[in-house]
Symmetry: C2
Subunit: 172 residues, 2 copies
DNA sequence: AAATAACTACCTACTGGTCGATAATTTTAC
DNA sequence: GTAAAATTATCGACCAGTAGGTAGTTATTT
């Protein structure tokens, strides 16, 4: 793993625990074994780092989901697959959704970061609409926003109350 | 309004836009017309201020709701009342729920602040369970966690995408 | 006299960011 | 094939600004 990748990974961990202001160049640098001045070589500003982090997070997230039509074709319910991805973020990583946390802080983020967070949710809503359509939902747009709202909210509350059974109950 | 109340109000605005780290003693002080050192007279530490803020927010929120049984008795659906309180926070204040934002940051908060955020959600779940029970729900506990999850999530996404119609669609 | 509420001055620690320098590597030109 | 040039990735030193917090003082109110 390159230093740049290591920096993004370290930043992701910090942000998913405490938001955009929960990481500093010095902390990241020390974690990957370089000096803070060198971080600016890979990311000119903190906003650049944040934006690239959210962009790659979105891409990985979408890639992990696959295509709703293909999931359906192989006998899986795409909404269950989507729910499972959130569950593993909460249960395995024990962290918030990166864009869930950044979305809540949206108003105080640098423009280029906020833009990437918007992209995450727009892409997610598109994916979920296709998934609900494939499931025969009458109003796939509405079902999509309800699904992602419920999951982000349940994740946040389970983290806050430090009890994953809230997530399980919410997704029953 | 006393200086102390003014400080809490200024802090609430900042936190609801960008989280716990989005306010400083210097900013608050300058907004209410005193010096930053004087803020420490009212709140010994930042954590004390954050905890009192979340505590009062919870109390005001619960007070604004009223009692589920009384709402029911006066012909109102308590879940609609609850939804309306979230809606006005989003549409009128144009800000996140204080504890929704702090909850997402939960892992990086000082203990006494996190404790108050937990109190907010525990009290909300109790209120919502009673409300759903009064509505004749078969599983009021489950309905309660689903209601608050959906509303917190929908609020966050509407803020992020800067479009309140997502909230309206999610709550249909 | 005591409590309240503010002040000035200061501290240490940390923030994102800039600068020029320095090796090591890779590409280009002859 | 090799010498020169450019690129990559790092460094130490430094900067101005801000963070939360403390000590001691002053004025006002009870």
């Amino acid at each position: 793993m390159s230093k740049k990748e290591a920096l993004l990974k370290a930043a992701e961990n910090k942000v998913r625990l405490g938001g955009y202001s929960n990481f500093s160049f010095r902390e990241l640098a020390s974690e990957v074994g370089i000096k803070s001045a060198s971080v600016h070589y890979h990311f000119p500003t903190k906003a650049d780092l944040g934006a690239e982090l959210a962009h790659q997070y979105t891409n990985s997230f979408l890639a992990a989901l696959g295509e709703p039509s293909e999931l359906k074709a192989s006998g899986k319910n795409p909404i269950d697959v989507y729910t499972q991805l959130f569950r593993s973020a909460l249960v395995t990583d024990r962290k918030m959704c990166l864009c869930g946390l950044l979305g809540a802080e949206s108003d105080s983020l640098p423009d280029k970061v906020r833009l990437e967070v918007k992209r995450f949710f727009n892409q997610n809503l598109t994916w979920l609409s296709a998934a609900h359509l494939a499931n025969g939902e009458l109003n796939p747009t509405k079902a999509a926003i309800q699904t992602v709202s419920l999951l982000e909210g349940a994740m946040m509350i389970s983290k806050t109350l430090d009890d994953n059974s809230y997530f399980e109950l919410a997704t029953q």
